[in-house]
């Protein structure tokens, strides 16, 4: 074994109590880092997933007639209130869909015919949202097939699907006939073919039907209202949205990020505070090691003096202390990493005691942990730099003289 390493190891072993305490300190700090890091990451993934897991990340609508008018640069006194609909239907959407289909960063593309209507059931009039889409396409975003609580997932003929909230509020069952109406425009009877429960407010408002059914009911002809999309990396929605907007200047492209600025700001400040906690933990680990080694330089001044007298070079002496710092870092980091993973497992176990599933899922990301541990080892080694430099000033003659 390398001489400096051997001496460093022996110095650490000899300062048993001191070494154990500082190692414990490092380990606890690292454990906190690993735990907080995993917790915050898990929490954020869960929050984002709840927000956009089952909704479109990017969507494209036809330009509003207001915007269209502006784009046409007409001098007339247009103002928003003049227009019944803020958006106009998307024409030529099949072509757009084909072009979108060639992009690999889009994981779901769903053309939707959407509009408001009332559902009439005997005396009751219920405001609903008509979502016309091919169920197979829609599953890519909403997972409707797997959310069916009764009836069919593939409505045929005059069948439609309704949300479980509507079904229970108005006592609707499979096979019941209901009327959908757009006052003054259309009245149409439909049979309830299935009831879905997506676990969100949409269960109280959505009526899902086939795209062609909705096109006909809403009077869209062969147009759709919009194309909804999901992307592989939710945080890239803004970029992808921008690209699509540039590509399809006649349409209007939106994304979830612009619509959730406050959530994202909250996530950001959460990440920031997690980072600050971790920096402070790292800082105190570093200070702890630096102070232990500073004391050690004084405690071992006699040994260092002798080693120097026997021909140990300054470089070697400082390496003895750098190695001590590094070894404390490695041992503390490994112990702390283990403790941190243990804490994560405890959390998962503890929060699932009552409900059977954890409060929110946490995944132990080894890459993240390895990064934390490496930073700790690097800072521990850095912490030894000042003590190591101090050891250089030790004059062997002083030590020899004073016994």
């Amino acid at each position: 074994m390398n001489f400096e390493l051997k001496v460093a190891l022996r110095f650490l072993k000899d300062g048993r109590g001191q070494t154990v305490f500082i190692l414990l300190g490092i380990a606890v700090g690292v454990a906190v880092q690993v735990f907080i890091n995993t917790l915050i990451a898990g929490l954020q993934i869960d929050l984002v997933n709840q927000t956009v897991g089952k909704s479109p990340h990017v969507w494209m609508v036809g330009q509003s007639s207001y915007e269209a008018a502006l784009a046409a640069n007409e001098d007339a006194n247009y103002f928003r209130g003049n227009f019944e609909a803020l958006t106009s239907p998307l024409k030529n959407w099949e072509n757009i869909e084909t072009i979108l289909g060639s992009r690999t960063d889009l994981t779901a593309i769903v053309p939707v015919a959407e509009g408001s209507a009332f559902l009439i059931r005997t005396e009751e009039t219920v405001p609903v949202v008509i979502k016309g889409m091919d169920i197979a396409d829609a599953d890519g975003i909403y997972g409707i097939s797997e959310s069916i609580v009764s009836g069919t997932a593939s409505p045929g003929g005059d069948q439609i699907l309704i949300g479980s909230g509507i079904a229970s509020d108005y006592n609707l069952e499979i096979g019941d006939i209901v009327t959908l109406t757009i006052p003054g425009i259309r009245n149409q009877n439909y049979t309830i073919g299935g009831i879905f429960s997506l676990g969100s407010v949409t269960d109280d408002t959505w009526v899902v039907m086939r795209l062609s059914q909705a096109q006909k009911f809403l009077g869209l002809g062969s147009d759709v209202s919009k194309i909804e999309m999901q992307v592989a990396d939710v945080y890239s929605a803004e970029t992808i949205g921008g690209e699509l907007q540039a590509r399809f200047s006649g349409a209007s492209v939106n994304n979830w990020i612009e619509n959730n600025t406050s959530l994202l700001a909250a996530l950001n400040s959460q990440s920031m505070s997690s980072l600050i906690i971790q920096i402070f933990v790292l800082f105190s680990i570093t200070l702890g090691i630096a102070s232990v080694l500073a004391v050690s330089v004084v405690q071992k001044s006699k040994q260092i003096g002798i080693l120097k007298a026997m021909g140990t070079k300054d470089r070697q002496v400082s390496r003895i202390f750098l190695f001590q710092g590094a070894m404390m870092g490695v041992l503390g980091a490994l112990a702390g990493g283990g403790m941190g993973v243990g804490m994560v497992r405890m959390f998962l176990w503890g929060t699932s005691l009552e409900t059977g599933t954890p409060l929110f899922p946490l995944t132990i990301e080894w890459v993240r942990i390895v990064v934390i541990l490496s930073i700790v080892v690097a800072s521990s080694t850095l912490a030894a730099v000042i003590p190591a430099r101090r050891s250089l000033k030790l004059n062997p003659v002083e030590v020899i003289r004073n016994g």
Binding site: K6, V7, D14, Q303, A309, M310, G311, G403
Partner: protein, 245 residues
């Protein structure tokens, strides 16, 4: 007697002056000149405070003179870089201090081996060095204690480990600052015999600062310092040296 080097004077001190302090200056050595022959056993004696330790530390390249220079076989210490000096001390000099100064974290044999670790011994050399360390410890009468923690040894035993340590790299010069200073007469005698044996077996040049008349009288040459000056420098005739031990 085996010669270690082919130069006649292994050490030459030329005009050594040592001044301590920067604001209040104390001149401790006032221009010393002398040479040490290869294979010679020299004692340096003198009252406490006469500058013996200061001189020895300068001879051992641990301290630098304020004026003058030291030549080792003609080579000036002052011209060597810090790393070269460290290497030089490791390879050519062996130190024995008054307060033995073993590293308490290591065993007896490990302490003896430390100088070889410093210079870095390769794989096959390591075995050889281990055997040499064992032999040296056996020579100083510590065969049974080689794996003892150095703190578990008596003062005399520790001092003998320190002697073995000073010899491990087969130094040209062995320097001792009152190496028997706090040992009893019987141990002192044994250690003197050991010095003589080392001197005769390996041809090592010995320079020992000592208070002990017994040791001084039995060495080849006695340099007496008074107030930082050489008061007397007595050499025994060559032919009487061998049978002194």
């Amino acid at each position: 007697m085996a010669e270690k080097t082919n130069c006649k004077y292994v050490l030459k001190a030329e005009g050594l002056v040592k001044v301590y302090g920067t604001t209040v200056k104390t001149e401790v050595l006032h221009g010393l000149n002398f040479s040490v022959k290869s294979g010679e056993f020299t004692s340096i004696i003198g009252y406490s405070g006469s500058g013996k330790s200061t001189l020895l530390n300068i001879l051992g390249a641990l301290d630098v003179p304020t004026e003058g220079r030291i030549l080792f076989c003609g080579e000036d210490y002052g011209k060597m870089k810090p790393d070269e000096l460290a290497d030089f001390r490791n390879k050519n000099l062996g130190f024995i201090f008054q307060f033995h100064h073993l590293l308490p974290e290591f065993t007896a044999i490990e302490n003896v081996l430390i100088p070889t670790w410093i210079s870095g011994v390769s794989g096959h050399q390591r075995e050889k060095m281990n055997r040499r360390a064992e032999e040296l410890l056996e020579m100083v009468g510590l065969k049974a204690f080689i794996h003892n923690k150095s703190t578990d040894l008596s003062g005399g035993q520790q001092q003998r480990v320190a002697i073995a340590r000073a010899l491990i790299n087969d130094p040209t010069i062995l320097l001792g600052d009152e190496p028997t200073g706090n040992l009893d007469t019987e141990t002192t005698d044994q250690i003197y015999d050991l010095f003589r044996k080392i001197n005769q077996t390996y041809g090592t040049t010995l320079i020992m600062v000592t208070h002990n008349d017994q040791i001084a009288k039995r060495s080849d040459r006695i340099i007496e310092l008074i107030d930082g000056r050489i008061h007397s420098d007595r050499e025994k005739a060559e032919e009487t040296r061998a049978d002194v031990g």
